[in-house]
């Protein structure tokens, strides 16, 4: 054995450490430590709260509870999402934009011959200076406003999921600047994660959490309630091992704890989820994508006919039950929604439907998901409502009968924390983006508004702060000219992923090529997705490069506040979105920039603050200041707030309604859970797609007034015989992190094609693969009448016949119009609304066909579009910067 004494060397060189929540959900997530040396990140790792505080100091700050004889403790070590732990590859991705870029064949000024709009997504970029870039942006804003109207600039990218920042906040900085210098058109963030609850559940139990999301506003102690009282937890479309990475991985521990204390976990999902496959204890019940309503009604039929529901609760806590009963039993339409009927639609055998219904009806059962892909398909308001109906029939709010979602995961109420649904640190500037603008367009309608020059829709439809009745307001773009209405002629995006996350991606790509859009700008750290269709790309820093004050946010085991210096200098010439907006503001007036840098120092409003002063200001405006001094917070780097002394006394909100519905009514017209919505009946009496009572809606031909024909039972299924499950991928977060080399080599992340390209997996079951003559690893095309995306076949028992899975969020790699090599499945999602009156998106559970790509076909494409196939490509990280920028080595 050798002597353990090692020679001195670089291995001993000191490193500096900062603490930073940087989950891709955008609200901080559990803290990680970034260790750096000589201006480079060395590692990113979990932290222990004991790194900076003694156990005595943490007394009364970390919760624990005992249920069924076992204790669950708040972990001392954080569980950052796995994207955070691999973020070094994101920071140093070879897809990073290091300098401002201009598309080679675009010139500012709006001359149709010089903008070459038709080449967006085709032509390459060239490096320019920041001065040139900022001048162009400011000049174009001024020109477009004067030429077309004050509101002719469309600001895209308010809110949503992104890198976790506060002062440097992604999304909304451009709005702040545009607001202070004139008008703009606001792109409204739609209820993307919660469509079915937003458009459906709201009419059953009220607006829900954050005044509009449509998921129940749970309040505190949901995890504890479930631990003590639930016998079974059903994850109907809720792959927690994937989706919890919004912020944390701590729900892994909770699920392990639940199984250890005897709670049964059941996964009902088109995919044998990552949660399902890693535990022997979990039962998987596969169903076809977007058929949850059929399964739900099949189960309700069993409950009704076998008396397996809470008769008293339904009597005292709900209205309209007679209408539900009539529909389910077939009294309304002559069709009983029995297990056989359900089985023919959802693909679950009748015996399994009955077994699940009886277990659910007899055992105290909660539903668990993050938001769920079951509410992101065509007509998603229907499963959004049947989820409420199921809970209502089983006594929602009773001990152990909960809807557990992303705002339910926090372990305990901390004294300074007001709600379960807000992050610990929240900037007022971030809030500004929710201010109404004169003219707005829903994010789901951008492509059609641009292409048609007009649009109309019902509701705002803003994701939060949107009451149910505002869905009855009819809105228009453009607004009347005398109110400031004008068509948009410039698009500026701080979140360039519309084509990968919202509806009808290929239509969005075509809209970007509309010559009426004279200038398209994106701010983004990476050259991907909508940035490929931009005229100017402004390089943005990642969290590691920014000095900020970012705590954790919802979805964590507990909430902390943290203040940090930049771990490393900016990569290339990148600046934060905030800094970019200030630079452009200066082109209007130095005063505007100073006004934007406002904050509170020692109780006084001040302007022109430095970043350090901004950090202090955010601290002063938060309730963190009640418990720790600024100096101490800076020294420690983070702070774990005290528990509320009576945290255990808070009842889950639904418990109050359960116990006393008269004193604690729901915010619905009746104060109870409404199975049948009188509001919908009154306002949209002829809506066959969203009737007052949720129904199994199959849709049909457009000429008959249907928005969708996207089921296996319709006419289109003859041509496109597979339902695609396009839920979020395990190794990305929505459209983020597709370039992390260490993730891409994980077997479920990508499929290596025979041409060496790493294709996005198209998961197929062995039976369907055999029928199609497809073997594992084949290059396949997944297509419908909206276009074609190329994927790699991944053959697995985790998939049902008649369905495939292509996770959303793989980056676009355009070959030509309507043809993509990157496997961005969202490009072929339905481009229209969820249903006639609901302009949300339907981005999963729609029809596609799958075929093996013949060598001749690939050869033809290579011959027809050589520039697309010759672009620089690195299998390890995918399509990247060097493929799109001229003059890069």
């Amino acid at each position: 054995m050798a002597d353990q004494k090692m020679p001195d060397g670089p291995w001993q060189e000191p490193e500096t450490t900062i603490y930073r929540g940087m989950a891709c959900g955008g609200t901080g997530g559990e803290l990680s430590a970034i260790d750096s040396k000589n201006g480079k990140v060395v590692r990113i790792r979990p932290i222990r709260y004991t790194d900076e505080y003694t156990e005595e100091e943490l007394e009364g700050h970390l919760w624990s509870f005992t249920a069924r004889g076992k204790t669950l403790k708040c972990p001392v070590k954080t569980a950052p999402p796995y994207q955070s732990l691999a973020y070094k590859k994101r920071i140093y991705s070879n897809n990073r934009v290091k300098y401002p870029l201009k598309r080679v064949d675009w010139e500012p000024g709006g001359d149709p011959d010089k903008i070459n709009a038709q080449n967006r997504g085709k032509s390459k970029f060239v490096r320019i200076s920041w001065d040139e870039a900022c001048d162009m942006v400011a000049d174009e804003i001024k020109r477009v406003r004067s030429q077309y109207g004050e509101n002719a600039v469309l600001a895209v990218g308010e809110d949503g999921h992104c890198q976790s920042k506060l002062i440097h906040m992604v999304g909304g900085n451009h709005i702040n600047m545009l607001m202070r210098t004139g008008g703009f058109t606001r792109e409204v963030r739609t209820p993307d994660s919660v469509e079915g609850f937003y458009w459906g559940a709201k009419f059953a139990w009220g607006p829900g959490v954050q005044a509009g999301l449509g998921m129940y506003d749970n309040g505190w102690n949901i995890i504890e309630d479930v631990s003590e009282h639930s016998d079974m937890v059903v994850m109907q479309a809720g792959d927690l091992e994937t989706t919890q990475n919004y912020a944390s991985q701590w729900m892994s521990r909770v699920m392990r704890f639940w199984m250890d204390i005897g709670i049964k976990l059941v996964v009902v999902d088109p995919f044998c989820t990552y949660t399902s496959v890693c535990h022997d204890e979990i039962t998987w019940i596969p169903l076809l994508p977007n058929t949850d309503v059929a399964l739900d009604y099949g189960m309700m039929y069993v409950w009704l006919t076998e008396g397996l529901y809470d008769v008293d609760y339904v009597e005292t806590h709900t209205t309209g039950f007679d209408k539900l009963k009539a529909y389910v039993l077939g009294e309304e339409d002559g069709v009983p929604k029995d297990p056989k009927w359900a089985s023919e639609r959802c693909g679950v055998e009748p015996w399994t439907i009955k077994a699940l219904a009886r277990e659910w009806g007899r055992k105290t059962t909660s539903i668990l998901h993050y938001c769920g892909c079951h509410v992101r398909g065509p007509y998603s308001h229907e499963p959004g409502r049947t989820e409420v109906y199921k809970l209502a029939m089983q006594g929602f709010g009773a001990p152990g009968v909960q809807q557990i979602h992303l705002f339910s995961y926090g372990g305990a109420k901390q004294e300074i924390r007001a709600t379960t649904s807000g992050p610990m640190m929240f900037s007022e500037m971030h809030a500004m983006q929710f201010y109404p603008a004169d003219q707005s367009i829903p994010r789901t309608l951008i492509h059609r508004a641009i292409q048609n020059g007009k649009a109309d829709w019902w509701g705002s439809p803003q994701i939060i702060f949107a009451m149910p009745d505002e869905q009855f307001e009819h809105n228009f773009y453009p607004i009347p000219e005398d109110e400031g209405g004008c068509k948009v002629h410039m698009l500026w995006s701080e979140k360039p992923c519309n084509q990968s996350c919202w509806n009808g991606g290929f239509e969005f790509q075509e809209a970007m090529r509309n010559p009426e859009l004279e200038c398209v700008i994106t701010n983004h750290p990476w050259l991907e997705n909508d940035s490929l269709f931009a005229d100017l790309v402004l390089p943005v820093t990642t969290p590691a490069e920014e000095s900020d004050i970012v705590g954790s946010g919802m979805g964590d085991s507990l909430e902390v506040a943290a203040v940090q210096d930049a771990a490393i200098p900016p990569v290339g010439e990148s600046m934060s979105d905030y800094e970019i907006s200030l630079e452009i503001a200066k082109r209007f007036s130095p005063d505007v920039a100073a006004q934007m840098a406002q904050g509170m120092i020692d109780g006084e409003m001040q302007f022109g603050l430095t970043i350090e002063q901004q950090k202090r200001s955010e601290y002063e405006r938060s309730r963190v200041k009640n418990e720790i001094s600024w100096e101490e917070l800076k020294e420690k780097g983070f702070y774990v707030p005290k528990l509320d002394p009576v945290w255990r006394e808070y009842k889950p909100n639904a418990r109050l309604f359960y116990e006393d519905p008269d004193t604690f009514p729901l915010p619905t017209p009746s104060g109870k859970i409404d199975f049948y919505s009188e509001e919908l009946a009154e306002n949209f009496p002829d809506d066959q797609e969203r009737p007052p009572l949720a129904k199994w809606v199959e849709g049909g031909p457009a000429e008959e007034g249907w928005s969708h024909d996207e089921t296996l039972r319709g006419e289109r299924a003859k041509k496109y015989p597979f339902l695609v499950n396009a839920c979020t991928g395990r190794w990305r977060f929505h459209a983020q992190c597709d370039d992390i080399t260490w993730h891409r080599e994980i077997p479920t992340a990508k499929v290596v094609g025979k041409d060496g390209y790493l294709y996005e997996p198209c998961w197929l079951c062995p039976e369907d693969a055999a029928k199609l003559g497809i073997v594992d690893g084949d290059i396949v095309k997944v297509y419908n009448d909206r276009g074609t995306v190329l994927c790699g076949a991944k053959i697995s028992e985790r998939i049902l016949p008649q369905s495939v899975m292509v996770n959303k969020g793989s980056r676009s790699d355009p070959i030509t119009s309507g043809l993509d090599r990157g496997g961005n499945i969202n490009l072929i999602s339905p481009a229209g609304p969820i249903s006639k009156h609901c302009y949300g998106f339907a981005v999963s559970g729609y029809l596609v066909a799958v075929e093996k790509v013949a060598d001749e076909e690939m050869a033809q494409w290579m011959n027809d579009y050589p520039e697309a196939f010759e672009r620089a490509y690195d299998p390890a990280s995918g399509s990247h910067y060097a493929g799109w920028v001229e003059g890069v080595e």
Partner: protein, 268 residues
């Protein structure tokens, strides 16, 4: 003597151990402990992922495999100039300078845990993050251990680890390894038992697997979903009998190659 204990019953397949290893060693030079690990394609900590069973009885095993810290390490024996050595704490480390050009160090490992870095011309593998252990900051244990949010990987003095019910990988190699596993994947047979006449699952049916040569048997009952899981079976041809609700099933399966998901099993 240091050892790893990997409890697969706690593992959730997040790959944080594999990622943590890469984060520590790709692009970071810890000479004299190790030169940087290539960014992709090599795995000093490798999660071996395998799908088992058939719809709807599907599970995936995730087995983290790294240098097994052998006492009788073939890599030490084959190395020249003492290029591979065993530290006092038992960790086996490759000296990146002395090992230059010695490809056989990589080739000899029966666990395929040593990789040949063609660019640097050196064999490389897990060091147990000895550089962190020795310097003690910012953490004093291996990154795979630190990254694991389920505490599925433990590292410490072997005498202080609870090694009850653990196994080692390929004990037939007889290399006296110091990585211990709990819950290594074993064959299963699973199915969903139902009565086609009543279209009901059969709950509480008795399911028996018999291995006819040794005359061993395993038995279980179906649960509320009609499902049965016979776990920890040998690799063998098995006779399956099921009795429930006055009806029965008889059949044969083989776990010699892989676990078996029988899908819906109708009783007659």
């Amino acid at each position: 003597m240091k050892a790893f204990l990997i409890d697969l019953n706690k593992c959730v397949g997040c790959y944080d151990c594999q990622i943590g290893c890469k984060d520590e060693h790709c692009g970071n030079d810890w000479t004299p402990y190790a030169k940087p690990q290539p960014d992709t394609g090599q795995f000093w900590m490798r999660v071996q992922e395998t799908e088992h069973g058939a719809r709807p009885h599907v599970k995936v095993s995730y087995v983290p495999i790294m240098c097994q810290q052998c006492e009788d390490a073939p890599c030490i024996k084959v190395a020249e100039n003492g290029a591979v050595y065993r530290r006092e704490d038992g960790l086996v480390v490759i000296d990146p300078v002395k090992a230059k050009g010695q490809k056989k160090i990589a080739e000899v490992c029966p666990y395929h845990a040593v990789f040949w870095n063609a660019e640097l011309e050196i064999p490389q593998k897990c060091t147990g993050c000895a550089h962190l252990l020795d310097r003690g900051y910012p953490i004093d244990h291996p990154r795979c251990v630190d990254n694991c949010h389920m505490d599925a990987i433990q590292f410490g003095e072997e005498s202080e680890l609870d090694l009850a019910d653990t196994e080692t990988l390929n004990p037939e190699f007889s290399l006296k390894t110091h990585v211990y596993y709990r819950g290594l994947p074993k064959p299963f047979v699973a199915g969903k038992v139902y009565d086609p006449e009543t279209e009901e699952v059969v709950i509480g049916a008795i399911v028996t697997a018999k291995e006819p040569v040794k005359n061993e048997a395993w038995t279980t009952r179906t649960d509320a979903f009609g499902d049965f899981w016979l776990r920890n079976l040998p690799k063998a041809d098995l006779n399956i009998t099921i009795h429930g609700g006055g009806k029965s099933y008889e059949g044969t399966v083989s776990t010699k190659e892989k676990s078996v998901g029988m899908g819906n099993v109708a009783l007659k």
